[in-house]
Symmetry: C2
Subunit: 348 residues, 2 copies
């Protein structure tokens, strides 16, 4: 056994460490903290080197790399999306990510991101809803009660102050799970048996279903005036959740148009259909909600800067903590040109 | 502490484990094994989803992601190139990589790739030289005596049967390091004080220098007829090693033209300058060396399939061995939709 030098060691946050960190910080505080970091990075949008994620599609799913960088740091996430996994007892989405120093190229953080993606997705949805949802929104309809739904509900509570969640899923067992999980959180939770029932009285409509296909989770006649739609399940080519007619009645807000036009609900629309970039709303360069009867739609597919923000947040939170382990990921010979010498010396 | 299930655990090969594995297999045998896997994957070139690597450039270096996949597996490598790192006691190139199952998107291997990249690069160079170098080549000139040079020398010995290496570097200390490291390997090693001296009598000319700039390591008048040039240092935009006149006298072989035209020596040439893809030579679809006086040039920049081959090799070698540790990288709740429940139960 050769003892690696500190330069060779990369802090690694396992799933277990991430769960400990969430409980140490507290979930609502962590969702708010993540939203702050995400907001900060949207505010300095021009600083980032941006590219649509790089996807590898197979019959049953997709594997994606989502890189971005500013002048100081580089981040990327590996994430898969395999809807059929659930039937085999596997996660639809798993992820991990890395933050590195642009100046040296050396990684400074490797972390699980299955949980962290759920948290940052929820934090992003709630951050955007804080800008776009009707004033004093109290109620969210949550359509699709999978792994993301509790995090969406709690983020909307922690960041937007909603008090009521109305649940619907084609599988009542999924809804029952969320009802159970949200007990004791302070949210008033209603299990609904139809999507129409779920959206009754809701100012925020969140759709998060997992089928990889063109689906119509919300039809045109279900959506009244004065709501904010948070559409997060339509996130890859050929996968959408909303009737096109809804899109034509909505003002549409997106993260990064070159990616959203490929993956989002707006893949159903003409390539030049007007959209507003959410960073423009956050900086004040564009108007968000103009009036109480407007339908705002956040066509969210998840963008690399949100993962970058989450990686920055975790890096800052674990400083000096016990919530990581050093990983021997990088070769670090005494003389950097002598990689071979390091190898031969390891034989002794 | 929650004990993760086996589905959540990804085999991780640390730098220390990789070094142990190399010594367990033996370096020459490992280089030959890697070359076999690389050759197999070049033979089924059409099976791969290919893309030029995704680069993030900064003033002092580059961070790259190199993904590829076939119908069964997905692989990618993270790799940086920061020439100035060496002055600060850091590696110019560090890397790690991942292999995943296309069917589920679940990672099946995470491994250090700083050492593995050095090995696969050398194995690729020697594999290609076996196809292109003059028959019965005995001598390689190794220009640039950095971290890659011992691996190049030993791969050319193990795979092409060369017996003599002639070394040159602008820094005599680098050359002295290689002389020292190659003692006892069976190679006849000569330290040279000029590049002209290094190439005397050599049938294979390997250039591997690290400056991020247009350099002229080999000038036109240095290169005689009947040699094979293995140019591996010119591997990003603005970084080349050969005088353009040499390129015009050579038959040029490349890995993946869309990437090589951006990064390789041929960035100096017209975008339609004829090149031969090396997989075509390996399958017999194209001719490699036609005659003894021809100059063949392998304009190598390193391609994602070579890393994929290396990842496959390591996955196969570590089965049932002690050369890895299980890493708690993936969240794996009992009910895949109940990520939140897994999190709350971890609090107890």
């Amino acid at each position: 056994m050769t003892t690696p030098s500190s330069k060779a060691l990369v802090p690694f946050v396992s799933v277990d460490h991430m769960m400990q960190l969430v409980h140490h910080i507290g979930l609502p505080a962590m969702l708010r903290g993540l939203a702050d970091y995400i907001e900060d990075d949207f505010r300095r949008w021009a600083d980032f080197d941006k590219t649509p994620r790089i996807a590898s599609h197979s019959a049953d799913g997709v594997i994606e790399l989502m890189p971005t960088s500013d002048s100081e740091s580089y981040g990327f996430k590996y994430v898969n999306g395999h809807p059929k996994n659930m039937k085999n007892g596997l996660q639809t989405v798993t992820a991990f990510g890395l933050l590195a120093d642009m100046d040296t190229g050396y990684p400074v953080l490797l972390t699980e991101m299955t949980l962290l993606t759920a948290l940052r997705t929820a934090a992003t949805s709630a951050l955007v809803a804080r800008y776009l949802a009707p004033k004093n929104a109290t109620t969210m309809a949550m359509i699709g009660n999978g792994a993301q739904s509790e995090f969406q509900s709690l983020a909307m509570q922690a960041i937007c102050g909603i008090t009521h969640v109305r649940l619907y899923d084609i599988d009542p067992a999924a809804t029952a799970k969320v009802v159970r999980n949200l007990t004791g959180t302070g949210l008033h939770v209603t299990a609904c048996t139809t999507p129409e029932q779920a959206i009754e009285g809701a100012q925020i409509l969140t759709t998060c279903t997992a089928d990889k296909q063109q689906a119509t989770i919300l039809t045109d006649n279900m959506v009244g005036a004065g709501v904010h739609i948070n559409a997060i399940g339509g996130d890859c080519p050929g996968k959408t959740e909303l009737a096109a007619a809804i899109l034509h009645r909505s003002d549409i807000f997106v993260e990064y148009p070159p990616q959203t036009r490929i993956e989002g609900e707006i893949q159903q629309l003409a390539a030049d259909h007007p959209v507003t970039e959410i960073w423009q709303v956050i900086t004040g360069a564009a108007t968000g909600r103009r009036d109480a009867r407007q339908i705002t739609l956040f066509d969210s597919v998840g963008f690399a800067t949100e993962d970058f923000s989450a990686l920055r947040y975790i890096r800052d939170q674990i400083q000096g903590s016990a919530f990581f382990q050093p990983l021997d990921l990088l070769a670090d010979p005494d003389d950097p040109r002598d990689l071979y010498g390091m190898l031969t010396r390891a034989a002794n």
